[in-house]
């Protein structure tokens, strides 16, 4: 395969195989085992807009596998500011590296880069477009908790209008026949064209403004941040934000194995009292970004992850 630009570049079988690889790589991601599968390979980190979290996660993934990383550096001081085209930047980095992870403010930039490059591109977010490595780590986290993806009931809550994370995840979950509940204020509903597209692909969707009524038979509750900037009226924001806050007191009647996820950073959507409950999974989710990206780096570089990682790796 070439790069990973959207989730459509992967079949369901490939997704499962990558999640299997990621699971076996967990001890390597945790630093318990050294397995230099990518020794001698170089990742180019091209972040045309700041995203410390995603960039660090790619860098950690590469280094845990014995590979090396070169960074574009601060966009403000790089040649991009001097008006260099994406095409030219890619020509240069393509010659220096074996694989490129990139984030760019413009939609379609990752596909454009892939068409300009010889090495595979890992899309780390292109404008309001796609962010498939986030979706992969979300799927990994869900499967880790439930042992499967198929047929789960997933509640996505908060800002469903602007969040590309929830758009992409909804598409992926639909491919695995999950039941979806979209809980959001009217103003931040899932875009109509996405709902229509998901329905056309056979999704079972419930839309509601009442998050709390939908929690008790959920397998996953995926919270997102509601941004103040989306509202013109301060009071309206306060009202809406208040309706999408989880407190440990709200969790008395939920399923024992229900997990709560959040792409982070959170503001007030999840009260710290939830952190200590068995349901909180957002910090593991963030950590899973490393292991999911490790598996993707291996996949795109054509390196197979050994079946028995414990045997192949060495203790640290």
């Amino acid at each position: 395969m070439g790069g990973l630009i959207t989730m459509d570049d992967l079949t369901n079988e490939e997704i499962i195989a990558i999640l299997d690889d990621a699971e076996r790589l967990l001890p390597v991601a945790k630093g318990e085992l050294y397995l230099p599968l990518l020794q001698g390979r170089i990742l180019g980190n091209l972040f045309f807009e700041p995203s410390t979290r995603t960039r660090m996660s790619f860098e950690t993934a590469m280094k845990r596998l014995g590979g090396d990383v070169v960074n574009l550096g601060d966009v403000k001081t790089s040649s991009v500011v001097k008006g260099e085209t994406l095409f030219d930047t890619i020509q240069m980095v393509d010659g220096y590296t074996d694989i490129i992870a990139m984030r760019h403010p413009r939609q379609g930039a990752a596909q454009y880069a892939q068409d300009s490059a010889r090495v595979p591109i890992l899309n780390g977010g292109d404008g309001a477009g796609h962010h498939p490595t986030q979706t992969m780590l979300d799927l990994f986290t869900i499967r880790q908790a439930h042992g499967k993806l198929d047929g789960l009931k997933v509640v996505l809550a908060g800002d469903l209008r602007y969040g590309r994370t929830v758009h992409s995840l909804s598409h992926a979950l639909t491919r695995f026949d999950c039941e979806l509940v979209f809980a959001s204020p009217e103003l931040l509903r899932m875009p109509r064209d996405i709902v229509a597209d998901l329905s056309a692909h056979g999704a079972k969707i419930t839309e509601t403004e009442d998050l709390y009524s939908m929690m008790n038979d959920a397998d996953v509750i995926y919270m997102t941040r509601i941004q103040k900037e989306r509202f013109s009226d301060e009071d309206e924001y306060a009202k809406v934000a208040g309706a999408y806050k989880l407190h440990s007191n709200d969790l008395n009647d939920v399923k024992a194995d229900m997990i709560i996820m959040h792409p982070l950073p959170r503001v007030d959507e999840i009260h710290p009292s939830v952190d200590a409950t068995r349901h909180a999974r957002y910090f593991e989710q963030a950590f899973n970004g490393v292991v999911a990206r490790m598996a993707l780096l291996c996949k795109l570089l054509g390196v197979s992850v050994p079946k028995n990682v414990e045997k192949e790796g060495s203790a640290l």
């Binding site: 959207t6 095409f87 413009r106 379609g108 930039a109 596909q111 300009s116 404008g127």
Partner: protein, 159 residues
């Protein structure tokens, strides 16, 4: 055939130029816009709308005098009227029949209408590529950003 000949004669025969027949009814003005024919055009242009047609029920026809359409113009025409017939007229007779081709992808004919698309930077050198999702009514999807767009939006973005 008779009705075709007949309808062609609704407009005076031209000596040299191009006849575009079988334009979907109501789309002649869009064709002119796509071809860049406007109030600054000096050659005579005649246009007939809502002509009865056996094949299409109703159709539009355009005749442009002293001008032969280029391949680039045919590619633009294909977006509005993928099944139009184009004849080049020289000395009152059909000298050439040109075929319109709307393939699976439209390359460097129109620009993506998404303002934040990577291709909106005019200095980026890769071609403008839009996949044909539907021929009529036209729907194209940008190869890069994935945005689906229709004719009304695209008319303003011809290259």
């Amino acid at each position: 055939m008779m009705s075709n000949e007949h309808s062609m004669r609704r407009v005076t025969a031209i000596r040299n130029g191009t006849v575009i027949d079988h334009i979907p009814q109501g789309h002649a003005l869009t064709v002119l816009e796509m071809l860049g024919i406007n109030d600054k055009t000096s050659v005579p242009v005649s246009l007939v709308m809502n002509v009865p047609s056996k094949k299409m029920g109703s159709k539009d026809i355009i005749k442009v005098e002293d001008r032969e359409l280029t391949q680039g113009e045919l590619d633009r025409l294909a977006l509005v009227a993928p099944d139009a017939h184009v004849a080049i007229i020289r000395a009152y007779t059909v000298a050439e029949k040109m075929t319109i081709n709307l393939g699976e992808e439209v390359v460097n004919v129109v620009r993506c209408t998404m303002s934040n698309c990577i291709t909106s930077n005019p200095r980026e050198p890769l071609p403008h590529r839009l996949k044909v999702i539907s021929r009529f009514p036209l729907q194209l999807r940008c190869h890069y950003c994935g945005r689906t767009q229709n004719l009304v939006e695209l008319v303003k973005n011809v290259i």
